[in-house]
Every structure is written in structure tokens, then in C-alpha cells.
């Protein structure tokens, strides 16, 4: 009974959406056939490639910087601990868009000029460095204390213990979270829309405004994001099973 009712309600919902689209001519074949034409597809795939480039560039910035920040927060001197903690806490509490506006509008006023690509990739990298730092730190702290103590007992100093015992295990532990975080980086790259960098979302907007296919363009692009991101999520999930971490430890990381 419940099954029949729920199917009926869901079908009704879908029908209402399709009806609304049909009434306003948004289901017309010529509005959709655009997206199987080779030049349009090539254009959108070009947008996807730009998105991937921004993601990789910001990850290349965020990963090493995040690792340094994590080491800073774990350091024994307050001189390193306090500034890294302040950086991480502040950057995690400031919206990315605000940082991008600061780079886009604020920096030129102080005389610093940056190429458009880095005006997008640098703020994304700087914010996510704070997130990566927290992931690394959580990985190190999740390691049993005995590991570090054993390393010290064997006569290793602070750095050799970190390098040989703690970090290799921590990196392996955090690899699913790191891949999961790539999803967020990829989502963040949509802010190219704000700085008029032609990544996937902005490409769809330009295409849609030119051909009057805004709804269709955004829906197609949304589908592309779903495909890429769910692949990344599946990889993260596979890694998680291999590293054998307890399920349920998955936080809501990719918001």
C-alpha cells in the first residue's frame, strides 16, 4: 500500500515538473539537440578541462601548504603553533566568495596584478589549505600515541619520528578524506563564474545566453558535475574500504 502511494506521489511530482517545462516550450527538441552537436560538446568539454585545471592547480597549492600548516599546529613551539592555528581558524571561517572578491577587487588597488586563472585558483587554494591542514592534523592525532612513544624509545628524534613513523601512517589514513576534499575543490572552481573565467559553469552560461538554452545548459552542466563528482566520491569510498577505517567516520566533508 505504502509502496503504491509513494510511487504515485513521486510520479505526480515528476509529471508536474515535466508539464511546467513543456508548457513553456523548454522540452522542445531543438533546445536539447544542441547538446549532441560536436562543436557544442567540444566547447563544454573545454570548460570541463578548465575546471579540472583550476582544481588541480588549487590542490597543488593547498596540499603542501596545508601539510605545512598541520605540522605548524602540531609543532612544539608556540611560535609556530599560534600563527598556524590562527590562519586555519580564520580561513575556515571566511566565505570563499569574500576572499575571491578581495583578490579580484582588493589586490589591484594595492598594485598587485595576477592572471585571471590565479585570481581564481589562489583563493581556492588558500581556503582549502586550512581544510587540508585539519584533515592532516586529524590523521596524525588519530594515530595511537604508542606509535610516537615507541619511536622516541627507539632513540629517534622529533623529526625522524615524524618522517619515518607518524606521517606515512597518517597520510595513508587520510587518503580517502583527501580525495573526498577534491570534490569540494571542484565545486569551488564554479566561482570562476564570478571572476568571468571560462570554466564549465561559466561556459554553460555563455552558451545559454547565446542560444537561449539557459535551463538546458545548466541542467547538462549539472549532470556533468554529478558524473565527475560521484566518480571521485566512489574512489574515496573505495580507498576508505581499503584503509579499513570504521564506517560512519565519514564527516560531511564536501560541503
Amino acid at each position: 500500500m505504502a509502496t503504491v502511494v509513494s510511487v504515485a506521489v513521486l510520479a505526480l511530482l515528476l509529471a508536474a515538473v515535466l508539464h511546467q517545462f513543456a508548457v513553456h516550450g523548454q522540452l522542445a527538441a531543438d533546445k536539447w539537440s544542441l547538446f549532441v552537436q560536436a562543436p557544442v560538446l567540444r566547447y563544454l568539454l573545454g570548460g570541463l578541462w578548465a575546471t579540472v585545471q583550476v582544481t588541480l592547480a588549487s590542490a597543488a597549492l593547498a596540499l603542501p601548504f596545508g601539510a605545512l600548516l598541520a605540522l605548524g599546529r602540531l609543532a612544539r613551539t608556540r611560535l609556530l603553533r599560534v600563527p598556524s592555528a590562527v590562519y586555519v581558524e580564520v580561513l575556515r571561517a571566511v566565505p570563499l566568495l569574500l576572499l575571491i572578491y578581495a583578490f579580484l577587487l582588493g589586490l589591484p588597488e594595492t598594485g598587485v596584478r595576477m592572471p585571471l586563472f590565479w585570481q581564481l585558483a589562489a583563493p581556492i587554494g588558500l581556503t582549502n589549505a586550512a581544510v587540508f591542514a585539519e584533515i592532516f592534523r586529524a590523521g596524525v592525532r588519530a594515530l595511537p600515541r604508542g606509535q610516537t612513544e615507541a619511536a622516541y624509545a627507539l632513540g629517534l628524534g622529533y623529526w625522524p619520528a615524524m618522517r619515518l613513523v607518524v606521517l606515512p601512517q597518517a597520510v595513508r589514513q587520510t587518503s580517502p578524506a583527501l580525495v573526498g576534499q577534491l570534490v569540494r575543490l571542484l565545486k569551488d572552481s564554479t566561482l570562476g563564474y564570478v571572476v568571468s573565467f571560462l570554466e564549465l559553469l561559466n561556459s554553460a552560461k555563455v552558451l545559454g545566453e547565446y542560444n537561449h538554452t539557459l535551463v538546458q545548459g545548466f541542467l547538462v552542466v549539472a549532470l556533468m558535475y554529478v558524473l565527475v563528482n560521484s566518480t571521485l566520491a566512489a574512489i574515496a569510498w573505495g580507498l576508505e574500504r581499503r584503509t579499513g577505517r570504521p564506517r560512519g567516520a565519514r564527516a560531511i566533508r564536501s560541503c
Binding site: 511546467q20 577587487l105 589586490l107 545559454g208 535551463v215 558535475y225 564527516a251 560541503c255
Partner: protein, 215 residues
């Protein structure tokens, strides 16, 4: 500092709109997310499938794509209403997926035996949920929900990118364009967001301590 003081009203109004935006979004996302969570754990297959597909899809779509789709795309399909509420709709639909997962993991944290015991006592599915599962699930979801609220608040700034420039980030950008004082205006806005984040985090810690059950 004088610059910030003389434009206190602008920052204050921006902050209020941001709060309104994120509060409404969190509320609506909570309602929809709670409903989705019920669907995900309900013993009805089509509902489970629908909720699963919803969560997987909405979590993979960047928020800005959803916002542009709703603000610029849907008017072409005849769906037009106020810009503010359109933004709230898009953001609520997005965060509902995350809300659903938080609630669900809270429910999963309740030991199976508790649910079976409830069933054995003759409680219905609704009664088990209301009397046994949810009161316990609520306690373990305080921290994740606070993180979610922080994420909702910070990302409410994205509404400025689609035209709701009355909120804090949008106001800051306009101020900067007018007066070219980037360091001060962006710094002040950043301070507002940091204060909000701290406030939410501290309140959640307080709430969690009060809700804890002494066993």
C-alpha cells in the same frame, strides 16, 4: 577604523540579511532533510531509492550551479518569484541533502537492539522513531548540525554572486567599489563571519554539554 564605524549601518544590514538568508535556508533544509532522512530509513523501497538518488545527486552538484539554474534558468520555464526566495529555495534544496545525511548518521548511531526492543514492545515504526530513535539521535547530531549551520552561513554569501547583493559579502563588494578601501572593508566583513562562526561553534558546545545524559 573610522571607515568601518561610519558605515556600521551597511555592515549591520548586510549581516542581518545574511542571517535571515542562512536562518531560513537552515530551517527549510532541516524540514526537507528530515523528511528525506525518514524516506531513507523507511521500509518502503521507492521512497528509499528516491531519497538516495536525491542525496547523491544534490551533493555532487555545486551550489552555484543550482543557484544559477534557479535564478537565471527557471524563469525561462515560467517559474518566477522574488530573487531572495529563489536563492533560499535553491540553497535549501542543496543543504537538505547534507542535513539528511547528518540525521541519518545520527539514527545509525543508535544501536539496532534499541529499535528491535521497541518493535518487540509493540511500538509502530512512527512510535519507534519518535520515542526511541530521535531523542537519542538528536544528541549525537549537535556537533555535525553546528558544522552544517556554519557551512550554510558561509555559503549564503554565494547568493551575492547571483544578485542578492543586500547580504554581507555583496555589501562589502559594493562598499569597496565605492570607496576603494579593500583592506578595511574586506577585513571587517571577514571579522563578522569569524564572529558568527565562533558564536555557532560555542553555542553548539554549550548545548551538547547540557544535553548529555549522565549514565
Amino acid at each position: 577604523m573610522g571607515f568601518v564605524l561610519s558605515h556600521l549601518g551597511v555592515f549591520g544590514n548586510g549581516l542581518l540579511v545574511s542571517l535571515e538568508l542562512s536562518g531560513l535556508t537552515f530551517l527549510l533544509a532541516g524540514l526537507l532533510g528530515g523528511l528525506l532522512a525518514c524516506c531513507r530509513i523507511a521500509p518502503v523501497v521507492p521512497l528509499r531509492l528516491f531519497a538516495w538518488a536525491y542525496v547523491v545527486t544534490l551533493r555532487s552538484i555545486p551550489l552555484l550551479v543550482l543557484l544559477t539554474l534557479f535564478v537565471f534558468g527557471l524563469p525561462e520555464a515560467g517559474v518566477v518569484y522574488s530573487l531572495f526566495w529563489t536563492a533560499v529555495t535553491a540553497m535549501s534544496l542543496y543543504w537538505a541533502a547534507f542535513f539528511c545525511e547528518v540525521v541519518r548518521s545520527g539514527v545509525r548511531a543508535v544501536p539496532r537492539g534499541q529499535i528491535e526492543a521497541g518493535r518487540a514492545l509493540g511500538l509502530t515504526f512512527g512510535q519507534v522513531l519518535r520515542l526511541v530513535v530521535l531523542p537519542q539521535a538528536l544528541r549525537s547530531t549537535v556537533q555535525p548540525l553546528a558544522s552544517l549551520l556554519i557551512a550554510v552561513t558561509l555559503n549564503s554569501s554565494l547568493a551575492a554572486a547571483v544578485g542578492v547583493t543586500r547580504e554581507l559579502t555583496g555589501q562589502t563588494q559594493l562598499l569597496d567599489q565605492q570607496f576603494a578601501q579593500p583592506l578595511i572593508s574586506f577585513g571587517a566583513a571577514a571579522a563578522c563571519y569569524v564572529a558568527l562562526t565562533l558564536l555557532i561553534g560555542r553555542s553548539a558546545a554549550l548545548l551538547e554539554r547540557r544535553l548529555v545524559v549522565q549514565r
